[in-house]
């Protein structure tokens, strides 16, 4: 159980460490982390899953804020961002599964961690096969995202049944 909170604490600590290059970024990061911790306390009181995702999302949002002073196109920055995200994802999964089912399988952790190198690879492909940064490039990307979202949130068809 200690690993759950340890991963979150390390995540916040590393964020502050990375943001320490500039006072403005450090203060901004501190503010976002503060909001996330406030949402976490709210979640501990109310125990609604919505607040669980709220404080985690704010924690994710703190990542681009902390890395504002770094070159976002650098592979090192992206790798650093994914490494930090891995910590937060671990916290999310460990907490959720231990709380609900009292355990977490290795398979779950493997798939969660696997999503990060795959994302890194996706970013690599994006850089090498650019769709363009002009107006039509943005419109095209927006349409792809909208199609993807539609595909993912579409209502599921009822499964066929042999019963009359």
């Amino acid at each position: 159980m200690k690993a759950i909170w340890l991963s979150l604490a390390i995540y916040f600590f590393l964020l502050l460490l990375l943001a320490s290059s500039s006072l403005r970024i450090l203060l901004l990061t501190l503010t976002v982390i503060g909001i996330s911790i406030a949402a976490l306390f709210l979640y501990r009181i109310i125990e609604s899953e919505v607040f669980f995702h709220l404080y985690n999302f704010i924690a994710v949002a703190a990542l681009p804020v902390a890395l504002e002073g770094y070159n976002p196109y650098s592979w090192v920055t992206i790798a650093l961002a994914y490494a930090l995200l891995a910590l937060l994802l671990l916290h999310m999964y460990l907490y959720r599964f231990f709380q609900r089912f009292g355990m977490i399988k290795r398979e779950t952790v493997v798939y969660v961690l696997l999503s990060l190198p795959l994302s890194f690879l996706s970013a690599y492909i994006f850089f090498h096969l650019p769709i363009g940064y002009g107006f039509w490039g943005i419109v095209g990307l927006g349409m792809v995202i909208l199609l993807l979202l539609y595909f993912l949130v579409r209502p599921k068809s009822e499964e066929s049944s042999n019963t009359p």
Binding site: A81, L85, T108, S119, V153
Partner: protein, 391 residues
């Protein structure tokens, strides 16, 4: 069915892309990709049917016993299964067998009516929920103290042959008197020592053993809010009633029950094991509920209306209500024989309310002792130890 986490990840993904556009930075967009990958992993995983079969031995249990439940779980992913008694959590690949041993406490009846089965995939993004009708029941009887022979007996008996020594002479085991031999007396009854002493034939006379009617009047009305103390008193009262009912069912006397709780309930007197199971089954439903507004007069009315005079009334009550004394006197006037068993928890409460309650109860016991037999029972000790010395 998709979980809240699924929609949260979709929102994470969308908001991070939006953040990327707003702040003209590719980093939030890159951060959104892992969430998309997780959703894709979850979408392309094959779903399997879910189901649960449960087995347990449906028999009569006594509180404190252990029952073993076997669950056959079908499905893939993390599961959370809940029925009337158990809650199971874990992970299952295809078909899993789970065994769970449960210590049954406290007494009562558990009816299995509904089972909730919840399965979540390995990433917590897809779920499957099934609520199915369940069947089966568990009867957990109150713990019964074993009594070989109870010293208390009714002062008045009925005409039928039974186990209680009556004031009449007749066939029995308890010696009563010696008289002159009369024609027709059995040879085995001749008292040879008395015959030698008096120089004429003398025979022994015995007490006739007759049956009696016994009513267990269980007063479990709740007057105060102390949940834990009340629960202890109630459990002790029910266990005492079950112990006495079980003992009496072994004798040849009729046993009945009146329960005075939030409402009045009663069981007509009957004989043997039937009476025992009727009473034990009724005791399963005795539960602590809200505060009772019922007067003791209802109990008095039921006893005098449905149970014959001369019955032996065993009143089990913590004696917390003011109306008990008069009702007991009235029952005595109507020719009922009364034994009061008053369970109490000699707590350390030294506040004014506790002191007042204790004093009131002591006064009530002192007054009741004038008319009837009273057992002041500290529930931390077994009831049988008191009943053994009671006459």
């Amino acid at each position: 069915m998709r979980t809240l986490q699924y929609y949260a990840f979709i929102i994470y993904f969308s908001l991070l892309i939006l953040l990327g556009f707003v702040f003209i930075s590719p980093l939030p967009v890159f951060l959104s990709i892992p969430f998309l990958w997780l959703i894709v992993f979850s979408e392309f995983r094959r779903k399997k049917e879910i189901g649960v079969k449960r087995e347990f031995e449906e028999k009569r249990y006594v509180e404190g016993n252990t029952a073993e439940f076997k669950y056959e779980i079908k499905g893939e992913g993390y599961y959370h299964i809940k029925d009337a008694l158990n809650e199971l959590r874990g992970y299952c690949k295809n078909i899993c067998l789970e065994k769970k041993k449960v210590r049954l406490y406290p007494f009562g009846k558990i009816s299995f009516k509904k089972m909730e089965i919840y399965f979540e995939d390995f990433l917590g993004l897809q779920a499957n929920y099934l609520e199915k009708e369940d069947e089966g029941e568990l009867r957990i009887y109150p713990k019964i103290e074993y009594m070989r022979k109870l010293q208390i007996k009714p002062r008045k008996t009925r005409t039928l042959l039974g186990d209680y020594p009556s004031r009449r002479k007749g066939q029995g085991l308890e010696f009563m008197d010696i008289r002159d031999y009369q024609a027709g007396d059995e040879m085995k009854r001749i008292n040879w020592k008395a015959t030698a002493r008096t120089d004429k034939l003398m025979v022994n006379e015995f007490e006739s053993e007759r049956t009696g009617d016994t009513v267990i009047l269980l007063d479990v009305r709740r007057f105060y809010k102390g949940e834990e103390e009340y629960e202890k008193l109630l459990n002790a009262s029910v266990r005492a009633a079950a112990t006495i009912a079980t003992y009496l069912s072994r004798t040849r006397s009729r046993v009945g029950l009146v329960v005075l709780g939030r409402t009045v309930d009663w069981i007509y007197p009957s004989y043997g094991k039937r009476a025992m199971y009727l009473i034990l089954d009724r005791l399963l439903y005795v539960r602590s509920g809200s505060i009772s507004r019922l007067s003791f007069d209802y109990g008095k009315f039921i006893v005098s209306r449905f149970f014959p005079p001369n019955s032996f009334v065993i009143l089990i009550s913590p004696l917390l209500s003011w109306d008990i004394d008069d009702a007991v006197v009235e029952l005595l006037a109507k020719d009922y024989d009364i034994l009061v068993i008053s369970p109490t928890l000699m707590g350390d409460g030294e506040n004014l309310a506790t002191k007042l309650l204790r004093i009131e109860r002591e006064v009530r016991i002192r007054r009741l002792r004038i008319y009837s037999r009273v057992i002041d029972w500290n529930i931390e000790y077994p009831l049988t130890s008191l009943l053994k010395v009671m006459r």
